[in-house]
Symmetry: D2
Subunit: 166 residues, 4 copies
Amino acid sequence: MGRTRTYQWDDPAILAEAAGRMAGVDFLRALQTGQLPGPPVNHTLDFTLDEVRPGRVVFSLIPGEEHYNPIGSVHGGIFATLLDSAAGAAVHSTLPLGMAYTSLDLTVKFLRRITVDTGPVRAIGTVVNSGRQTALAQAQLLDATDRLLAHATSSCMLFPVPAAQG
Amino acid sequence: MGRTRTYQWDDPAILAEAAGRMAGVDFLRALQTGQLPGPPVNHTLDFTLDEVRPGRVVFSLIPGEEHYNPIGSVHGGIFATLLDSAAGAAVHSTLPLGMAYTSLDLTVKFLRRITVDTGPVRAIGTVVNSGRQTALAQAQLLDATDRLLAHATSSCMLFPVPAAQG
Amino acid sequence: MGRTRTYQWDDPAILAEAAGRMAGVDFLRALQTGQLPGPPVNHTLDFTLDEVRPGRVVFSLIPGEEHYNPIGSVHGGIFATLLDSAAGAAVHSTLPLGMAYTSLDLTVKFLRRITVDTGPVRAIGTVVNSGRQTALAQAQLLDATDRLLAHATSSCMLFPVPAAQG
Amino acid sequence: MGRTRTYQWDDPAILAEAAGRMAGVDFLRALQTGQLPGPPVNHTLDFTLDEVRPGRVVFSLIPGEEHYNPIGSVHGGIFATLLDSAAGAAVHSTLPLGMAYTSLDLTVKFLRRITVDTGPVRAIGTVVNSGRQTALAQAQLLDATDRLLAHATSSCMLFPVPAAQG
């Protein structure tokens, strides 16, 4: 017997265009406060952007049955997505107007099994190092009691926003 | 103006129970042929298990707008999920009845930007090394022309299925 | 015209035997104070163990010409070795008598070029998470002004010391 | 009672200068054939460059007591160095005159314990993907029977050789 979910999202082109003409921290705050619509993937996986400050960003998610893998727990890719979001957004939050980033890699360590019984989890992304061409961020996945569930690092490449979008 | 998607999934407890009483390759083939229902996460992200043989598994996905991040492309976590599935299932496909696995880590290298224009992508997972307690798998994400879009490695821990499920 | 270096080390069997009959922190402190001889690799690369406390260990090295790669800087493997030592020893420092560890992986991010002009560097290893079967450690490589030069994470597997050594 | 080793190396500035005015594959072949002196680190760890062709490079080492960690086996950093050399040189072997590279990261999976009984090991580096700004390489560490002992991936950043060296 199937379970059903229906959700909505907005045209992501609006976001990509806004990202090109705002400083990172302003763009992320506009996402967090709802001035800009949430990105589609946030609706698909049902996670939210909760906190933004320069160099530190927090996302959260309530593990649900729709996130399950075939072996009885939340799929690691779900929290990889949350951790990648947190790490990338932490880097983004430090970028001035005119600079953009792309993730080069993501290394996730899965430390504890996550199920619907785990309750709400949050991913805290912070910038570890910021260079001229690359930045290194890390992200921690914590439960409501601050137990570490997973850990990630991500390297991002930094580059000027292509001129046409300036 | 929002876009809408509705999807369904089945009780994941059915799968977790079946996983405990089948050899890995038989379990995965039952998923692939539809004898067992697809895991919830496959429905949430809309990806499918296409091929299964011992030590090699293929998943595929058609990138859609619902997979987009805030900066105009498919979120890296989406293909991290596909790559993690492929790597984990490749390991699972080598396990005899009575053995289970859990992923310890996932390292993804993002090589090319993926958008709706990329077209269908597939993740091919293969086992690189298989030990007594751990196994190492890799996964490649390819487009329809076999261009490499992303690459992942994942270490899994192997352990006997807990007796109660046997 | 060649440059020459001569160094000495002690039989490593002494160390492996001692490691099996001491708590981790005691073993590491005996290495640090010189009660036990330094491991051969420390002499080969000329690095030292400077600080030990449960969950945190510091190694240091003075970059020299003998550490150079073909492209004019210290070979990344040299500081990978230092970072791996720091991460592994941090885990070791938390293990009671009767428990041992082995490194499953090492992920190093190279953040800055290191040359003989960099001056002394130190690798600070700390335990990020400690489970029943695995532990996660990280290590930071810093120069004398605490600038981050490189960053590493390492997962270790924990297991009982084989009985014969007990 | 200590054991002693004496070794020599050449001024690494010769190499760095040569690297700037040769295509990668020519530079590596000059290292392999001895037209250019081996880099200092090769002498310190006693490993050699055995094979070079575009996109594939092989290094080898005979594990010795001087490579030992405190727990009775070859230090993981030693083969991390070999694997990093193989991965980096594989990328270098594909670069035309005027292009240089630097390693951004190294991820090593330690699959088997290595001791003096392991016998000669070789690290085979190959290029997995080559982009405009970055390249991804992998390296396998094998024993004389082709058993996989360790596996690594490394991302490199590519850039034009600074003009003064051209």
